[in-house]
Symmetry: C2
């Protein structure tokens, strides 16, 4: 027990990791503030998708995998919000932000995007893309 | 110069503020992770708005003020993304997240929301609200 207490005490006396975490904290807070404005090169888009009602689960699984992978591995894929209409869950809307045109062009050539497109080819019955610009983003820092 | 160095040194030797900032950092990072999932009570909505093309600037000014104030002063107003169609800037889409029904009901009774509604009464020509549920959010931690 004494060893544990000593270990904890020495941990709190070690400024190095505290400075490191403090730096991460400050950077995270700064980036949260920065996210409020649209960078001029950003591509912002709304995708309106209708899928075969019998295959909603398969579609959502493929969509989630694509979104998560793209944001994790591609530096220029910044934001995805995918929502389903409450009354008609086969009507999907995806709000997308890419860093710039090059990031979007690179994205549609990735294996995970091509796999998604091949998987949903016979599930998606309608696809409409709307290019938009951000008027304003306002959100809690934790969102 | 020596006094300045001593002051800086003593600042970095003072664990109290480092622990405080580290805690804020850890909490901020945790909340960023938490934001990925939809809380079951959350109200998620898409508002599709058409405004008089001659009054876009007035509309956008009123909208930005409403959004910013609501997120700043209301604990239950979590997220707004407002976008304008690139080809037809008078077509606005707003993506909204509220903590729960009570938060939304409280929101529409606030002075800033009532002021917005009164200001845009003769600017908005069409308003369509779509209730949706989040399928997935994927975004960079800094977004």
């Amino acid at each position: 027990m004494k060893t544990f207490k000593t270990a904890i005490k020495s941990l709190f006396n070690n400024n190095t990791w505290l400075i490191l975490i403090a730096t991460i904290g400050i950077l995270t807070l700064c980036f949260n503030e920065k996210a409020m404005a649209q960078h001029k090169d950003q591509i912002v888009r709304i995708a309106k998708i209708e899928v075969d009602p019998a295959q909603i689960e398969q579609y959502n699984t493929a969509l989630k995998e694509q979104m998560t992978t793209a944001v994790r591995v591609e530096p220029g894929v910044l934001t995805y919000y995918a929502v389903a209409d409450k009354a008609t869950p086969s009507h999907i809307t995806i709000f997308e932000i890419y860093a710039d045109t090059a990031a979007y062009q690179a994205h549609i050539q990735t294996p995970h995007f091509k796999k998604y497109k091949a998987t949903v080819e016979h599930i998606v019955t309608k696809l409409e893309l709307e290019d938009v610009r951000l008027v304003r983003v306002a959100k809690k820092p934790e969102m």
